[in-house]
Amino acid sequence: MASYKTNEFKGGLKIMLDGDPFTIVENEFVKPGKGQAFNRVKVRNLKTGRVVERTFKSGDSVEAADVHETDLQYLYNDGEMWHFMDTETYEQLGADAAAVGDAAKWLKEQDMCKVTLYNGAPLSVEPPNFVILTITETDPGVRGDTATGGTKPATLETGAVVNVPLFLEQGEMIRVDTRSGEYLSRAKED
């Protein structure tokens, strides 16, 4: 099993702690001039997202986590699992609700996503930063109102609800920033 010594610690390194995969967020080396050195490390649990602090004696080793990121195409949801495909090998992978998490409300078929794999299985899914989605439900548009700055909620085809300007109609396509969940502009299908 691969392992890392504390002197290899740096941000982004994936390690196993208490049976879970973690990524190192921050690593600080502390050492008195004539004594024991320590690594004070902030790590994020890749399953729960929680950040905790850990202390290691410098020179100790920890097991490496078999975690890597890959770009996969979202195919479909079968009611239980979200299915993705590697567009080069055509290999398909299923991700469960725990892995997909909040990304679910942005996933549109054929969009490319960043999927983090742990021991070959999806651990987390990051939707594209920008998605184009159709409005499936919203109050009727207020014609000509492009200036007042008022907004109304709109439900999108993936189930996400975003605030959109009053003039938008059901059936229109919009561009959304998935990181903030904010409406950006009207869009045309490309």
């Binding site: 080396f29 502390v30 050492k31 008195p32 004539k34 004594g35 024991q36 202390t55 290691f56």
Partner: protein, 325 residues
């Protein structure tokens, strides 16, 4: 195409501050009649201290076959040989090297100012360090405080570092919220170091220069141990802005005691599975011949520059950090 990072990271101002620092300290020692010396960076022997890991290279430098040469972790041993030969007060500015040390305040090669004052007590030397540092940083009004190691732990943690058990030290670390304090396996000095670096250091030298002095005998390193109740290692550390800047000793002069400490260090190295280093027989011979009573101190110039420039990372004061070397 690979991008080659050739540009220095340090600002022009940081380079100038370093150059000024070197000029200033040379003036300071010239005024006081302390002789500048140079000793070899490569040595056939090394400091066996288990907390310090030397770098080495294998080469035939003397025409007598390949052998192992150690890069100095401090110029202490050759400088003591000069003292034994009657050099009088001496100082040196040099690069020193330590493996496995990299962080915000650590870099595998760093610049050390080391000096020896025959006839000075530890208190005399602390005074001189304070005068020099105040002058180098251009703040003659900087307050100076002295604090015994024992007082520091008693006042801040309610513990006596001479008598506290590992269980008590571990409980203190847990009470202070140090992560994994319940899991770590450390000896007494390990716990003391954990508490010092995590709980105490950040406040040391916050408002000026803080000298912590008189250490537990088990942390004597190369300091003389003053018998007494309790006995204490005549050693000091200087802190400024929560950062350790210097380490000074009332130097151990007893060759037999030095040999015993080296042997203990080598035994500990073996237990820890670390590579063994050759005993410095030439230093021991010099001690045998007689080094005059002296105090000596090593000061990290890169960290001093960090403090002067308000930098929170060593890389800000190094022209080319190791990742760019």
């Amino acid at each position: 195409m690979t991008q080659h990072h050739w540009r220095p990271l340090a600002t022009r101002a940081a380079l100038e501050a370093r150059a000024r620092l070197l000029t200033e300290l040379r003036t300071f020692f010239a005024e006081r009649g302390v002789l500048e010396v140079e000793t070899p960076i490569l040595s056939a022997a090394a400091n066996p201290d288990p907390a310090i890991e030397p770098l080495h290279l294998d080469a035939d430098l003397t025409g007598t076959g390949n052998r192992r040469w150690y890069l100095q972790t401090s110029p202490e041993f050759p400088m003591k040989r000069l003292l034994a030969a009657g050099s009088g007060p001496i100082y040196q500015v040099c690069k020193v090297f330590r493996a496995d040390e990299r962080g915000r305040r650590h870099h595998p090669e760093f610049t050390m100012l080391e000096w020896y004052r025959p006839g000075f007590s530890l208190e005399d030397l602390m005074d001189e360090v304070a005068v020099l540092v105040r002058r180098l940083v251009g703040r003659p009004e900087l307050p100076v405080e002295r604090l015994r190691y024992r007082e520091l732990f008693r006042r801040r943690l309610g513990l006596d570092p001479w008598t506290a058990t590992t269980a008590e030290l571990q409980a203190a670390a847990q009470a202070r919220g140090i992560a994994d304090a319940d899991l770590l396996a450390l000896d007494t000095n390990g716990w003391l170091d954990l508490l010092l670096t995590h709980c105490l250091e950040p406040d040391l030298g916050r408002d000026g220069l803080t000298f912590v002095h008189d250490y537990p005998p088990s942390q004597a390193a190369l300091a003389r141990i003053e018998p007494g109740n309790p006995p204490a290692a005549r050693r000091f550390e200087l802190y400024w802005q929560g950062m350790e800047l210097a380490n000074g000793f009332d130097e151990l002069l007893d060759a037999d005691e030095q040999r015993r400490r080296f042997q203990r260090d080598l035994d500990e190295r073996r237990e820890l599975g670390r590579v063994s280093t050759p005993m410095d027989e030439r230093l021991l011979a010099a001690l045998e011949a007689g080094v005059p009573a002296t105090s000596g101190v090593a000061l990290g110039l890169d960290r001093l520059l960090m403090g002067m420039l308000g930098a929170d990372h060593l890389d800000a004061v190094l022209a080319l950090p190791v990742e760019w070397a």
